[in-house]
């Protein structure tokens, strides 16, 4: 099982995502933003960070990186793609996922151990969880407020496309406390919290995040 991790200039959590894939039992393939090939990977993680400095708008420049062209095609064809934090922003800018991420309502960067409720355990990335399961993973961003128009939000809720939701106080003003969503097919998932920072007892608040990465290995085997 080969999982690609894309590095854009300004990607920060690419090494962490690669480590999480490795700990889950997968093989990591590092993908470069300037490449126009996905090197035959079975899934892709778009990691956290500040791609191209996030100058202009988060993810807005990264979506035009050469590697994104084959990635968008493959995602539309069913390739499992996980976007974490900046990766989520890139997926929204690429229109693989609806909505957008805006500045936190309190206007500060915020790094906290965040409780989440898993609401969809049938995506390629969350099959290892159960619906209603509570997990704790780090949340750290300045622009994590998820927004979309009412019709889109209703559709996401109605179709079960809300994957994870914040529990307790809304940490950033996300509409309906949405922390992560999926596309209709369930192969593309984007979320603001960082499951790759919760894969080892030693360094994370929990190991709750590991199942994102084990899930995709299982999904690929059974697909």
């Amino acid at each position: 099982m080969r999982v690609g991790v894309v590095t854009f200039p300004g990607s920060l959590d690419d090494g962490d995502a690669a480590r999480a894939v490795r700990l889950a039992g997968g093989e990591t393939v590092r993908l470069w933003h300037g490449d126009d090939s996905l090197r035959d990977v079975d899934a892709v993680v778009l990691p956290g960070g500040f791609s191209y400095g996030d100058y202009l708008r988060c993810g807005a420049i990264a979506r035009f990186a050469p590697v994104m062209a084959p990635l968008v095609d493959a995602a539309r064809g069913g390739l499992p793609v996980l976007g974490i934090c900046n990766g989520f922003q890139v997926l929204c800018e690429s229109h693989l996922l609806p909505g957008a991420l805006i500045r936190n309502d309190h206007r500060k960067f915020n790094c906290v151990d965040q409780e989440l409720a898993v609401e969809n355990a049938s995506t390629a990335w969350t099959g290892g969880y159960s619906v209603g399961q509570r997990v704790v993973v780090p949340l750290k961003n300045g622009e994590g407020g998820y927004v979309a128009d009412e019709a889109t939000l209703d559709r996401l809720e109605g179709e079960g496309q809300v994957v994870v939701r914040y529990v307790g106080d809304n940490p950033n003003g996300s509409y309906r406390s949405i922390a992560g969503i999926t596309n209709e097919r369930g192969n593309v998932v984007g979320l603001m919290p960082h499951p790759e920072h919760a894969v080892e007892e030693l360094t994370g608040p929990s190991t709750d995040g590991l199942a994102f990465f084990t899930s995709v290995l299982t999904a690929a085997v059974t697909a």
Binding site: P9, G10, L12, D13, G15, D16, R19, G34, G48, G49, F50, Y52, G53, D54, Y55, H106, K108, F109, N110, C111, V112, P138, K140, G142, H194, E196, H197, V199, E200, L202, T203, G204
Partner: protein, 754 residues
């Protein structure tokens, strides 16, 4: 078409010796200017004058501090841990298995007062480039911060900007922020202290130095383009006090681009990995003047720089300005001609602009050319290393005796359980002791995935090697009040606390970096404080066996005649053979035995209690006991490795009361303790005294005897206090519910700054 700026040439300077030069405006004294003329045998050109003025500024030349800093070398303890000592961009310490760590703390005080966001941001950027220039991958940062009173209007301007700047820059670099301090004291009003520490990791064989060796090798400037920001920042900002009569100095503060720096880090690491660099130097204070003169001075020959090749943001910049510009995110490398193509290829891959701007030669001179004309021709050592050295006069201040005589014995002390309870709660919620999460939650502590402990823990603990679990612990401390009462002891107390904070995690302290924040060196009172503090620090480093590897001096932290409390901030680096054995600070599980290690005496002068409750500062600080610190550290290393200690937290600011409260709050596990056996049963002294060499430790009931046996071996006194568990911290007759403690601790900073 843009016209080419012209500049005074060496020939013109030779031909016109009588020209009046504005050396005083550039901060040079009459005798310094005279010396430059003697060195050159003529008057300097305008570009040479610019170079000498920035490089001979206090900030770059350490001209007032050098004679005192010498002690850190003269009194250095015997150690084989030091791979690169004081004098390079940062020291390099051997942590075993072929791994090395480089670390350093620096100040960015003045820029952060003028422009809090950019000042603090570029402070992070600068220290990170220092670490990169040793050949290391930066792995962690921490920021010791000091502000005026928490409720002062100007603090509300400065603090949020500083914190946002550190976060905005550091978070974007992908470096975990793992520690630091936030301290409030009226003495820092108008002179906030914004210090920044960075640690980097490298293999022994990857160490790089700022040396320009090998005639024919090329000098490459890479990273950001050069603009007009920060021109004269060094001399204007770091070497003068602020004065309301002057217009704003905002333009002299540099503006940071963290994305550029992040790309520069990755680019440098690729260059190091491919072994394409002979010598490397970051561009910080004094920009190209500093980088070229230091590279040439450390090398074995000379250097020619073609200044007109430097890529500019602003084509109207004059040569003098290009030499002085402090534009951020720039590095300078010396590269063999055979490797230049490979070097430039890696830069292209990262979209980093790289330009060959010079060449190493055998001339022994640093020559700068501008469109074919020579505008600088100097011996590089005279610029970089042979600046003026001052033996500034110093004398024990006339007020020192009265200050020390005014002890805290007459201050009213709480006695009844109700009074003591109220005092504990007040202290827990005081700005200096309250939860700092409003600040530290704005920093990313998780990135890179190797953070084992971060604030509010005693030390930041970072895993270095995933396969062996080798790691490091880092802590910074300083106490300006103690240093004001006795600068010799105060510096030793700062070291003691940082050393102890590293030790309680189970790490073995190895080395020291320091940031010495003081008032004006031209004031004999301040200079005495500085002399005493450096002497104290050097003596204590020798006794504890931890060498100073580098650091920084920040003078002129004063408003008018009023200097800040002398504030040596000390960073200690320790090593943990197995980070899985680190001991965290919070009570972990119920039913464990709580013990106090060390002796508690009636020591409240300069304490947080005297400061918070009485606004009092006088007397003599707690007695320094380095032998006891050493014994405590050895004990902690032993019990951590043996897995005996389940939690450990040092006792310092706020005393035992604060230590117990913080251990309770960390994980919401309470404890029931008695202080009858502490300080002869004086509950107030037991709770609030700040005696040194103490820690609270927990152990499972069946292991506490092992702890006591080990403690006896090292001569450390053990006092059993009680047992963990429950939803309250119960101290004798005082019962404090976790929720009540938490509310007191966590509401303070948001109420002030949110």
């Amino acid at each position: 078409m843009t016209s080419v700026q012209t500049s005074e040439t060496v020939k013109q300077a030779e031909a016109t010796p009588e020209v009046e030069q504005p050396y005083r405006e550039l901060g040079l004294k009459d005798d310094e200017y005279k010396r430059i003329r003697e060195i050159l045998g003529r008057r300097p050109t305008s570009s040479e004058l610019a170079m000498y003025s920035v490089m001979w500024s206090e900030h770059c030349s350490y001209k007032s501090s050098k004679v005192h800093l010498k002690q850190f070398g003269d009194k250095a303890p015997d150690t084989d841990a030091l791979l690169v000592g004081i004098g390079e961009n940062a020291g390099v310490v051997d942590i075993g298995d072929g791994w090395a760590v480089t670390f350093k703390v620096e100040s960015h005080n003045h820029p952060s007062y003028v422009e809090p966001y950019q000042g603090a941001a570029t402070g992070v950027g600068g220290i990170v480039r220092d670490i990169m220039s040793m050949g290391a991958r930066p792995v962690a940062v921490m920021d010791p911060l000091r502000f005026g009173p928490a409720d002062a209007e100007d603090t509300r301007r400065v603090l949020p900007g500083v914190v946002a700047g550190i976060g905005g820059y550091g978070n974007c670099l992908g470096l975990p922020n793992v520690g630091g301090e936030v301290v409030f004291d009226p003495s820092y009003a108008g002179n906030p202290l914004v210090n920044a520490l960075c640690a980097g990791v490298l293999r022994h064989d990857q160490i790089k130095l700022a040396h320009a060796s090998g005639a024919g090798n090329l000098v490459v400037l890479f990273g950001a383009t050069t603009g007009g920001d920060g021109i004269g920042g060094v001399s204007v900002l770091a070497s003068e006090t602020f004065d309301d009569a002057h217009p704003t100095k905002r333009p002299a503060v540099q503006v940071g681009d963290p994305f550029m720096e992040k790309v520069l880090i990755e680019c440098c690491l690729d260059l190091f990995a491919a072994d394409l660099v002979v010598g490397i130097q970051d561009l910080g204070g004094a920009g190209l003047s500093c980088a070229t003169s230091e590279l040439a001075s450390n090398g074995d020959g000379g250097m020619t720089v073609w200044l007109d090749r430097v890529p500019l943001r602003d084509s109207s910049l004059r040569p003098e300005e290009i030499l002085m510009s402090e534009s951020q995110e720039r590095m300078c490398a010396v590269v063999e001609p055979a490797k230049i193509d490979a070097f430039l290829e890696i830069c292209t891959r990262w979209d980093v602009l790289a330009t060959v701007v010079g060449e190493v030669d055998g001339s022994g001179r640093l020559t700068v050319e501008w469109h074919g004309e020579t505008i600088v021709d100097v011996p590089p050592r005279t610029v970089a290393h042979e600046g003026p050295v001052y033996e500034r006069p110093y004398a024990r201040p006339p007020w020192q005796d009265a200050l020390q005589a005014d002890g805290p014995s007459s201050l009213a002390r709480p006695t009844s359980p109700a009074e003591l309870r109220a005092t504990v709660l007040r202290m827990v919620g005081s700005p200096n002791l309250a939860s700092k999460s409003w600040v530290t939650d704005q920093y990313d502590r998780y990135v890179l995935g190797n953070t084992v402990l971060a604030q509010p823990e005693d030390s930041g603990v970072v895993r270095v090697d995933e396969s062996s679990n080798l790691g490091i612990a880092l802590a910074t401390d300083g106490n300006g009040r103690f240093a004001k009462l006795d600068p010799y002891a105060g510096a030793q107390l700062a070291l003691s606390e940082a050393y102890r904070n590293v030790a309680v995690t189970g790490a073995r302290p190895l080395a020291v970096t320091d940031c010495l924040n003081f008032g004006s060196p031209e004031d004999p009172d301040v200079m005495w404080q500085f002399a005493e503090a450096t002497r104290g620090l050097a003596d204590a480093c020798l006794e504890l066996g931890v060498p100073v590897t580098g650091g920084n001096v920040s003078f002129y932290n004063q408003t008018g005649d009023v200097a800040i409390n002398p504030t040596p901030v000390v960073g200690v680096l320790g090593v943990l053979a197995d980070v899985r054995r680190r001991v965290p600070m919070g009570f972990a599980s119920p039913g464990e035995v709580v013990v106090l290690l060390g002796e508690t005496r009636d020591e409240l002068a300069g304490s947080e209690w005297a400061h918070e409750v009485h606004g009092h500062l006088g007397g003599l600080p707690p007695r320094v006991d380095l032998a006891a610190e050493k014994a405590l550290a050895s004990l902690m290393a032993e019990v951590a490795a043996a897995g005996v200690a389940t939690a450990a937290h040092d006792v310092s600011d706020g005393g035992l009361a604060q230590t117990l409260a913080e251990m309770t709050l960390r994980r919401g596990v309470g404890a029931t303790v008695s202080l009858d056996e502490v300080a002869g049963g004086d509950a107030f002294v037991a709770l609030f005294a700040e005696s040194v060499a103490r820690a609270v430790v927990t152990a499972p009931a069946d292991r506490v005897a092992d702890l006591e046996t080990s403690a006896a071996t090292y001569g450390v006194r053990v006092t059993r206090l009680g047992t963990t568990g429950g939803g309250s911290l119960v101290v004798g007759d005082i019962d404090l519910a976790v929720d009540e403690l938490r509310a007191a601790s966590e509401r303070t900073l948001p109420a002030l700054f949110a």
